[in-house]
């Protein structure tokens, strides 16, 4: 990674001097994201501007975690590459950080929307390729002890020409170690949130990411979110309607989770009713990603070895 050196005697260009902003392409909690041109090379990059607006907070934890995790993971082709971190000041004299990323021209949310708008299906081999890349990227993160915790189509960047997929937005990512730490459960976009998190589990593991991957898999096939709840309760009920209301038999310990209540009793339906058009092998993989019991959920590494991917040319991925 070409991180800037800030040692004595090294002249470092400020972000304003080094880049020409071309357009705003997004906005996050801490600031805006721009498409920009690096003046020295003409290279197009994404600039993620982070305001350090709170003197009492210092460097935001999300920025700190995102950058330090990307420093560790950025060499993987399926994790977005952080090229540099630049420091500057805004008009009010406040410190601003610019994270300089490689530029990707779309994300999976926009990609799915474009197919939904034209009424076309995403080709099965395209889905397979994207899913394999996603599993590969997540396996790399998990192998290095990192949980993403906020996987959703919007956080998966793509290059339309090469169909390359990259995991981004690691602001909520955490290093997990064994021991597993107690994590806050106020994370993750509802639609992709694992049931153990919705039920208040504070000890959780990589399985939360795999649940999100399963939801994304189904969405690639149907072009609709699999479980589109507008509250934590509604989200759980959406899940229970399809997969059946869990109990101690299918998920030992579920009734002891902090937010467990008595829920309406539904029997599990076949996944093919919710994801028509997915072949048998795909449905088998999806069912393993959507296992209720976190320890039974397939790992990203095992998912890559699933027979669903057997006919995929993995050479260039």
């Amino acid at each position: 990674m070409e991180m800037e050196k800030t040692g004595a005697g090294v002249a470092v260009l400020s972000a304003k001097e080094a880049f020409e902003k071309l357009e705003k392409v997004g906005e996050g909690t801490y600031g805006k994201v721009y498409r920009a041109r690096e003046k020295a090379t003409g290279k197009i990059v994404a600039l993620k501007k982070t305001r350090l607006h709170e003197d009492q907070e210092g460097v935001p934890p999300t920025t700190l975690r995102e950058v330090s995790i990307l420093r560790m993971l950025s060499r993987d082709p399926h994790v977005v590459r952080l090229m540099d971190v630049k420091q500057g000041q805004n008009k009010e004299g406040k410190t601003v950080l610019y994270l300089v990323f490689e530029y990707m021209d779309t994300d999976l949310k926009k990609f799915i929307r474009s197919f939904r708008q034209t009424g076309q299906s995403i080709p099965p081999q395209t889905i397979k390729s994207l899913m394999y890349q996603l599993c590969k990227g997540i396996a790399f993160c998990h192998g290095h002890g990192i949980l993403h915790r906020d996987l959703k189509p919007h956080n998966l960047l793509m290059d339309r020409k090469t169909m390359m997929l990259k995991i981004a937005d690691l602001g909520l990512a955490r290093a997990f170690t064994v021991p597993i730490k107690k994590y806050t459960h106020e994370i993750l976009t509802l639609w992709y949130r694992a049931p153990e998190v919705l039920l208040g589990a504070t000890h959780y593991s990589m399985a939360v990411d795999i649940w999100s991957v399963g939801c994304i898999f189904a969405e690639l096939v149907t072009k609709q979110a699999l479980f589109a709840g507008d509250s934590e309760l509604q989200q759980l009920l959406h899940i229970f309607r399809l997969l059946g209301t869990p109990n101690e038999e299918v998920w030992p310990g579920v009734s002891k989770l902090k937010d467990w209540h008595e829920y309406p009793q539904w029997n599990p339906k076949s996944l093919s009713t919710a994801v028509p058009g997915l072949d048998e092998l795909g449905l088998d993989l999806l069912s393993q990603m959507l296992e209720y019991e976190p320890s039974k959920r397939i790992s990203a590494k095992k998912a890559m070895e699933h027979a669903y991917f057997n006919d995929l040319d993995k050479g260039h991925l």
Partner: protein, 314 residues
């Protein structure tokens, strides 16, 4: 976790708590709920490889001077005391000392700038808390006895630490290895007392050594072995280590050297205090010649870069 690993687990307790001063530290041992498709052996292999990238090795040209050593002990005492006050995990305190040592291995601080060491310790603990803790307090919660720093000054120091460490903050510590080594070594012993004792040994030696000089895996193995048996010969250490699939990645010479260092410090502690041979000195206060003076405020002047600060007025 792979079946072959599950069957080889020697300690079958899922969770053990380290009780310290009435608080509980949850410590969950390796178990099937952590399956990420990577066996524990592979995970430890990845960590040991990352240690090499992170540059944990003794650099003879980089030896802390006497004043830095003294200031460092004071900083560690403050970090441990503040860890207890703010309810942070022990791992957070250790990580902050790793940042502290890493920073001082790359930048020097003039001996008359004791305020800079204080500021550095606040920045390191604040950054470690942001990496490790779920609830991070505001910068004003990090209080010193002898100086008062504004939030924006601490923020500038945080940024200096980050740029000096090149934002490489996901640093490995011995705690990343503990459950693995305790599980491999403990056989019939219940892990809880071993774990607690190993923690104490790690924290005791932390004050005496530059953490950049020793690989965290080496510290973890050596401390675990001392916690289990203080009479091991070099051959016995090598024999114990051979039970670890990743033992070829660990230098037995380094492990035995650190084992002896812990032993020596353990004995010194035992002689100096018969009641608590190894004590986490979180209750000890920061002592310094400036501690008796009134609080003084440090501000960076606008014309200075974030790497320098004006000392407090004399």
């Amino acid at each position: 976790m792979d079946d072959d690993l599950s069957s080889s687990l020697l300690c079958h307790e899922n969770e053990t708590c380290l009780k310290e001063g009435g608080e509980e530290l949850e410590y969950q041992f390796a178990g099937s709920q952590h399956d990420c498709g990577v066996s524990e052996d592979e995970r430890v292999g990845i960590l040991i490889e990352r240690e090499i990238v992170l540059g944990f090795k003794r650099d003879e040209s980089m030896v802390f001077g006497d004043w830095v050593k003294r200031a460092r002990v004071e900083a560690i005492n403050w970090i441990l005391k503040t860890r207890a006050t703010l309810g942070f995990r022990f791992e957070t305190a250790y990580l902050s000392v790793t940042y502290f040592d890493r920073f001082l291995s790359r930048r020097s601080i003039d001996s008359e700038k004791s305020w800079a060491i204080r500021l550095l310790s606040i920045a390191c603990l604040s950054l470690a808390a942001k990496m490790e803790e779920c609830n991070v307090p505001g910068l004003s919660e990090f209080k010193l006895d002898d100086y008062s720093f504004e939030g924006k000054v601490i923020q500038k120091m945080e940024l200096l630490v980050l740029s000096t460490l090149e934002w490489e903050m996901g640093i490995i510590t011995p705690f990343d290895f503990l459950s693995y080594f305790i599980t491999k070594f403990c056989k019939e012993s219940p892990p809880s007392p071993i774990f607690y004792k190993t923690m104490q040994l790690i924290f005791t030696t932390m004050k005496e050594v530059n953490l950049m000089d020793h690989k965290p895996s080496v510290i973890a193995v050596a401390a675990t072995l001392v916690a289990m048996d203080q009479q091991l010969t070099r051959d016995a250490v090598e024999l114990k280590m051979s039970s670890i699939p990743q033992h070829r990645l660990l230098e037995s010479k380094d492990v035995f050297e650190y084992y002896n260092l812990i032993q020596r410090l353990y004995e010194e502690n035992t002689k100096s205090d018969t009641h608590t041979p190894i004590e986490m000195t979180e209750s000890s206060r920061v002592t310094s010649s400036a501690a008796m003076t009134k609080r003084r405020r440090l501000t960076f002047s606008d014309d200075e870069g974030s790497s320098h600060g004006k000392g407090p007025p004399g």
